[in-house]
Amino acid sequence: MEQKLQAFEKQLEQSLDKLTSHPLFLQTVAGVINFNCYRKIASRKALELLWGQLQIPLKADQEKMMAAIEEIQIRVQKIQLEQSKKVVLSEAPSATIHQFQAISKDTVKSGKKKVSSLNS
């Protein structure tokens, strides 16, 4: 009994595989989805027209605006990150320069002292 059931299932699975891979089946399914898409677009556009005449802002426009703001925020954050990297990079050499300047000042001072002691 179980073997028969398994054989039936296998056959059914193969048939369904054939059916769902057939170009005609795919075209029909795509046609149904496409039709549904056109229907959705048409009804939305009609509603948009109606809301537009009442001069009421659309939810879709607000959502698009929010997404645009979000994009700007991300771009700003990216610039901030890049700037902070540049600051870190520019801090390292400047510290070295300050140290170098401090050392050189000391050297100049001690040199001056040496010169003055020699003069005296």
Binding site: L12, L16, A30, N34, Y38, A60, E70, I74, Q77, K78
Partner: protein
């Protein structure tokens, strides 16, 4: 018929709640590191005993699939790939979140340029590293691969888990996506983001008799709590889908499936073309033999990446999920994969 069987599977899942089977999924604790729009960068903390000192663990970024929730990689404590990885790595993950309707035009290119780049830069800043290891699951692997092509200097190694590369490989899903009858432009205009129920329906229709097979396998195991917990967890994940950004969906079907851009013309990013053959980073691939979603023939092979500095491939038995989370994968593939990533050397510190 497929729909009725699908319904019976879902009813079974619903009724399993009343028998007290475990439905807690994705329980490894995580903290939010950064966010960009709907996307979040999460850091997972290791619950299991670590193999290394926390601060010495190399960072690893996991990029989950664009279609389903990421917690398939952390399904149950005993089946958690993230938990396993967190023993050896500092694990970060990108949670794609719930796409908003306003962001429906976001393409793969702009997703990489804006959201992904920001989160990646924040990860590098947090870890004070110049590069991190990357791992992508399913279509997330394609995103990780593109990023490795665009910024190879920021990627220490790349691991692809059941990731489709050659979209011309024979398979039902590929043949459906190749059918030009579906007008993608109109589809995006009508729906905005690709609705989860359509995609889930398509995945169920790939194997219409699967609920029946599941039911038959399950009936003798009804008293086995472990099996039932595992089944319930997997079904919970399977039923918990998310919409996909409309622009990304259009790109995936048009550029990846129909035009097979990774193999043929390459991926165009900000005016520059990137070819798979130019991939320079060490790359590893895990492919499942009986995968009906990503056919084995469509996964990455060594010949496709001649410029990669290292290549490794693991073939596991099982399907798209079982091949990655099954017992054999846990015992053999996971430890070897972790060792391979470690072999690629420490990440470069800033």
């Amino acid at each position: 018929m497929g729909l009725s069987l699908m319904g019976s599977g879902l009813n079974l899942l619903e009724s399993s709640k009343y028998f007290g089977f475990n439905k807690e999924v994705g329980i490894l604790p995580s903290s939010l590191v950064a966010s960009a729009g709907d996307m979040k960068l999460l850091k997972f903390s290791s619950e299991a005993p670590s193999l290394e000192v926390e601060s010495e663990k190399p960072p690893l970024l996991v990029v989950p699939s664009l279609i389903n929730r990421y917690y398939i990689l952390d399904l149950l404590p005993e089946k958690s790939f993230l938990r396993f990885l967190s023993k050896s790595f500092s694990v970060y993950l990108i949670d794609w979140g719930e796409p908003k309707r306003g962001a429906q035009n976001l393409s793969v290119e702009s997703l990489l340029e804006l959201h992904f780049d920001l989160l990646y830069s924040k990860l590098l800043a947090v870890e004070q590293a110049e590069s991190v290891h990357m791992m992508g699951h399913c279509l997330g692997g394609d995103i990780a691969l593109l990023w490795s092509l665009i910024c190879p200097e920021k990627v220490k190694s790349l691991t692809l888990l059941t990731t489709p590369i050659d979209f011309s490989a024979e398979g039902k899903l590929n043949s459906w996506a190749h059918s030009e009858a579906l007008n993608l432009q109109v589809f995006q205009e009508a729906y905005g983001n690709a609705p989860w129920f359509l995609m889930q329906g398509a995945f169920h229709a790939l194997r219409p008799l699967q609920p029946l097979h599941k039911l038959r396998r399950l009936l003798p195991q009804l008293k086995n709590k472990k099996v039932m917990d595992s089944f319930t967890a997997l079904e919970t994940w399977s039923a918990d889908s998310r919409d996909v950004l409309g622009g990304c969906y259009k790109d995936l079907i048009q550029n990846f499936y129909r035009e097979n851009c990774l193999i043929k013309a390459g991926f165009n990013f900000l005016g520059k073309n990137y070819l798979l053959s130019d991939l320079k980073v060490p790359v590893a691939s895990v492919a499942a033999e009986d995968d009906h979603i990503v056919p084995f023939a469509g996964t990455l092979s060594a010949e496709q990446v001649p410029a990669a500095t290292a290549f490794a491939k693991w073939t596991t038995r099982g399907g798209h999920i079982g091949g990655l989370l099954g017992r054999e994968a846990q015992q053999v593939c996971w430890p070897e994969l972790a060792a391979w990533i470690k072999q690629q050397g420490p990440v470069n510190v800033q």
